[in-house]
């Protein structure tokens, strides 16, 4: 395949924020021709392809599924009225998603959830929700990515593969980046990957320590024991030789400044939040000797923003149930997958998310039996399930708004090009729904 630089453009827009992963790279340059994006600089392949292929399979008009089961284009008024009526008349509505929209839209969503007594939940319920549970159990020692860039001499990735999933993580923030106290970038750092699989991240690490699948807890427990000065009386733990564990702890203990990143390979394997619990405790213990902090690798560009906005508004991070008029949060009780498995919801709205891709099959089956609505930009598996589809706009491309990077740094993501004519921003759509629900309430004398 031949790569040629793009020269056919008439405008450059610099310092744009990428709206793909939790890296939220803010050094992206969009190349515009006739006010359309024709190229992108600095972005990784994932980000670039998302920006460049923006119009591919784009949802452009509101649609309602007709009696033949075909999605048929309709007007905004008809679609919004129908969604508002369905939402207003439902007993157990769930508003899910939010990882790829702005905090401004999320706050509007929370307000809609409150006024309709809905459950509001986001992707962390199936990714780093367990990590958040661990933070609630034992603490939350984190840092911003610049701390890693400037100070870290030892970097550990566990159960995560940023080379494929957050492609610029190592180059922009951690491993290869030159920092104040690490002027030689990669040469000044030791990078270790702990993962059952040999990943592309393991490939660029100084060392790959393979351990047995689902034996995370045992491994970290052993590491913690060794750190505390105990000797292991077995030859290996979780498939890792005890000498290797001693060596690893020695490296960690003698780091000047260590940073640890972990992903779903940890938070979603057998012991779930307990894996993260013990890892946090290891980090806490390490701070007796030197400096360590850790960070979950967040997926979507604003999945963290949802947790922040949610705690700002309600005190709880995700899976919040407003059915009693005040927020309730109980993992396993008010979280989406559990609700679907119990076949409780009678209305399901997904905003900027695709449960069709993300959810386990058994949970999705219930969506076939209830009214399902999509607010999103592109056609996907969830569109096939949806009864009503409301086409929205891209944050950081067509609509401005706030996104929170994985380390909770807020970024103002600007608007660069005009939205497709008949699409509206998530904020506008949610605001319209709120107004329409309020008019229904007024009609009923409930307001």
């Amino acid at each position: 395949m031949e790569h040629k630089p793009i020269t056919d453009y008439d405008e450059e827009v610099r310092h744009c924020c990428c709206s793909y992963c939790g890296n939220n790279c803010d050094d992206i340059t969009y190349l515009l021709k006739d006010k359309k994006i024709v190229g992108v600089r600095h972005a990784c392949r994932l980000g670039a392809s998302k920006i460049i292929n923006d119009q591919d399979q784009r949802l452009l008009n509101p649609m309602i599924r007709n009696t033949d089961g075909i999605l048929e284009e309709t007007t905004w008024d008809i679609a919004l009225d129908k969604v508002a009526t369905l939402l207003y008349n439902s007993q157990r509505p769930v508003l899910y998603g939010w990882g790829e929209t702005s905090v401004e839209a999320i706050k509007e969503g929370i307000s809609l959830a409150e006024s309709t007594g809905s459950v509001i939940d986001n992707q962390s319920t199936i990714c780093h929700g367990t990590s958040i549970q661990a933070f609630q159990n034992v603490g939350h020692p984190v840092m911003t990515l610049g701390e890693v860039k400037n100070r870290a001499d030892v970097i550990i990735y566990i159960g995560t593969n940023p080379m494929d999933d957050h492609p610029r993580h190592l180059s922009r923030y951690t491993t290869f980046a030159q920092g104040y106290f690490r002027p030689n970038g990669r040469d000044d750092r030791t990078v270790i990957t702990l993962d059952p699989k040999y990943t592309n991240t393991a490939k660029v690490s100084d060392e790959w320590i393979q351990f047995n699948m689902n034996e995370d807890y045992e491994l970290f427990n052993a590491m913690r024991m060794v750190l505390k000065g105990n000797k292991l009386d077995v030859d290996e733990v979780a498939g890792v030789k005890k000498e290797k564990i001693y060596e690893l702890i020695d490296i960690m203990k003698n780091a000047e400044c260590g940073s640890l990143f972990f992903g779903l390979g940890l938070s979603q394997t057998l012991a779930k939040q307990r894996n993260v619990d013990i890892l946090i405790q290891l980090i806490e213990d390490l701070n007796r000797y030197t400096k360590w902090a850790m960070l979950p690798m967040r997926g979507f560009f604003n999945v963290n923003g949802f947790n922040i906005a949610m705690t700002t508004q309600t005190g709880y991070p995700y899976g919040v149930d407003f059915s009693r008029g005040y927020p309730r949060y109980m993992v396993g009780e008010t979280t989406t997958i559990d609700l679907l498995n119990r076949r409780e919801p009678d209305f399901f709205l997904a905003v900027a998310a695709d449960p069709g891709v993300q959810f386990p099959g058994y949970s999705i089956r219930h969506l076939v039996d209830i009214p399902v609505v999509q607010i999103d930009t592109h056609w996907g598996p969830y569109t096939e399930l949806s009864d009503i589809v409301l086409p929205s706009t891209r944050i950081g491309v067509e609509t401005e708004g706030t996104g929170y990077r994985m380390d909770s740094i807020p970024l103002f993501m600007k608007k660069v090009v005009e939205k497709p004519e008949n699409c509206h921003s998530d904020w506008w759509i949610l605001n319209q729904l709120k107004q329409r629900v309020n008019s229904l309430k007024q009609k009923d004398g409930a307001l």
């Binding site: 933070f135 939350h140 984190v142 700002t312 309600t314």
Partner: protein, 574 residues
């Protein structure tokens, strides 16, 4: 809208009105001396009337709060209440309430201005974005500079000119109101898991001391003529023996000149002084060091302080003094949160349980009260709990009940708290009782003056129409009685009226109106060209050491609607 608050008993210390029965006239959001016949009369005969409350040090918005809420759902659960009416929404949280809840509770207490005391510039957007969700307050934010790398470099090079320009520009970028210093050099040392000990212990890399940071930033603050002085959380917080560091900190700026254009008296504000006033070498032999500090405050006029009063609650401590929080974690084993923020600062959190039976909690509680009772001039102090560090802000009325009733205080000392209070502090030697006028000073007039906000904290002509009225018949209610302390607390928690900018926000203890909170920030004028030059030299380093681009760093107008910009005219001084 025009109002006449009729027949209230008014306490307005700035204007020497001490319990006079007086009408307060309001027009177009300000206090006035004449209204038209259309003015609405609110009968508050005999009721306690004061200016709207002003809190000069609280933690209500920003990254620490976000971490705190995320990791303590048990705190959120503690304060759940259904929405009481169609105006006010639900409440959640106790020590770290949700943003809307913070607005509701302060408003019901009659407060109209609350300072967010610690905002790292990198996450200033976040703080302002959270303020967006807090209703009904005027909120100045203090910007953290005490461990900023650019600051450390300028101080190390003794480059006061560039430091001045830097602070001026950074306040604009962060939309900050003033300079906050927290454990100068210590939080930077925490980047390596270390701390500094005392005022003259240099940070390992920059070779700069806390003394250099505090004196340099004080000079800059006075050069710029910012309305508020530097706002300092001194080194060694919470360490037995730290009162000496605090005394040295008080003294290290004594000879510096105050800008003649500012109306405040102080050049240094020492915050939550209670946490900095311990003698001894460990928590075993700790005693109060308040007497020496009180003596210094009584004899010198260049400093003010707020207290950081302990309230005997389970709360959440949160501070940019990150190494201290790790120390607390080692001490208590409770769940520790930490957040290091590149190039600028660090922060830590840990739950804290202050118990009446725990010797250390009681000592801390008594030390705070010693300051209240020992500092002779109430204009030099302000009531804070360093919310939520010493206790949540909803305990201010309780603290007031302790200050107004010697009987209540003695009952606590005799019957309810551990004997360290009397054995290890001088609290039992005080019999002072605060008057309503004194209360109006420490909760209104003095914090407003210390902050340099001349348009509030009083009810003079053209002051902002921020007024609180409490259902207390001043002449018939004896606040000195122990038996009245609970009643007093409840009345002060639920104002009869809270009026802000001429809007009635609370009526009969219920919130009746919500308005957007106002972002207060300082804009230094007259140095724009120098700022541009400085940015040219800073930008390459900025882009190298931060992980976001300079162009995406500042807080743009998107986040500060509505705002009040204080234009400060900068003129070169010697």
């Amino acid at each position: 809208m025009e109002y006449i608050l009729k027949g209230g008993v008014v306490f307005d210390p700035k204007n020497n009105i001490n319990g006079e029965t007086k009408d307060i006239l309001i027009r177009d959001g300000f206090i006035t001396d004449a209204v038209s016949k259309d003015a609405k009369v609110l009968d508050v005969s005999g009721k306690l009337v004061m200016p709207g409350g002003v809190d000069l040090h609280s933690h209500i918005a920003g990254p620490k709060l976000a971490v705190g809420r995320l990791y303590r759902p048990e705190d959120t659960r503690r304060g759940i209440k259904k929405a009481p009416n169609s105006v006010q929404g639900f409440e959640t949280g106790f020590s770290i309430p949700s943003c809307p809840t913070i607005g509701y509770r302060y408003t019901k207490m009659g407060y109209t201005t609350v300072t967010e005391a610690a905002v790292p510039p990198l996450e200033a957007k976040h703080a302002h974005e959270e303020i967006e969700s807090i209703p009904n307050l005027d909120i100045p934010t203090l910007t953290l500079f005490g461990n900023n790398w650019f600051m450390l470099k300028y101080v190390r090079d003794n480059n006061m000119d560039d430091l001045t320009v830097f602070i001026s520009k950074w306040l604009k970028l962060a939309k900050g109101y003033g300079i906050k210093i927290v454990n100068p050099c210590g939080s930077e040392a925490w980047g390596w898991g270390k701390n500094v000990d005392g005022l003259d212990d240099p940070e390992p890399h920059w070779n700069v001391t806390g003394r250099q940071v505090i004196t340099s930033l004080t000079k800059v603050n006075e050069r710029l003529g910012l309305p508020h002085s530097v706002h300092v959380h001194t080194n060694d917080l919470g360490h037995p023996g730290n009162y000496e560091t605090t005394l040295e900190t008080f003294d290290c700026v004594k000879g510096l000149k105050k800008n003649k254009n500012v109306e405040r008296d102080q050049i240094l504000h020492c915050t939550h002084v209670q946490f900095h006033a311990y003698k001894g070498t460990s928590w075993r032999d700790v005693t109060s060091g308040a007497t020496e500090l009180i003596d210094y405050i009584n004899k010198n006029d260049h400093l003010t302080c707020d207290i950081g009063q302990i309230t005997f609650d389970e709360t959440t401590t949160m501070t940019a003094d990150a190494p201290m929080e790790y120390d607390l974690f080692r001490l208590t084993g409770l769940k520790w949160a930490n957040k290091d923020i590149e190039v600028e600062t660090a922060s830590g959190l840990i739950p804290s349980i202050y118990s009446k039976r725990a010797p250390v909690s009681v000592l801390q509680w008594a030390v705070g009260l010693e300051f209240f009772l020992g500092v002779k001039n109430p204009w030099k102090i302000a009531l804070t709990t360093d919310s939520p560090n010493g206790g949540p802000f909803i305990r201010y009325p309780r603290v007031i009940s302790w200050l107004m009733s010697n009987e209540k205080l003695n009952d606590m000392l005799d019957n309810h708290v551990h004997n360290w209070a009397t054995r290890r502090t001088a609290i039992a030697s005080y019999d002072r009782e605060y008057s309503w006028n004194d209360i109006a000073v420490i909760t209104r007039a003095s914090p407003a003056k210390i902050l340099g906000l001349n348009d509030r904290g009083h009810l003079g002509l053209n002051a902002k129409a921020d007024v609180s009225v409490y259902d207390i018949d001043v002449d018939d209610f004896d606040a000195t009685l122990k038996s009245n302390s609970k009643i007093l607390e409840n009345k002060l928690l639920n104002s009869l009226y809270t009026i802000k900018d001429g809007n009635i926000l609370v009526k009969d203890g219920q919130i009746v109106k919500l308005v957007k909170s106002n972002h207060l920030w300082c804009n230094v004028c007259g140095m724009e060209d120098k700022e541009k030059e400085l940015i040219k030299s800073i930008r390459p380093l900025f882009n190298k050491y931060y992980t976001i681009k300079y162009e995406n760093y500042g807080v743009n107008n998107h986040y500060i609607k509505p705002d009040t910009r204080f234009d400060i005219n900068y003129s070169e001084v010697d």
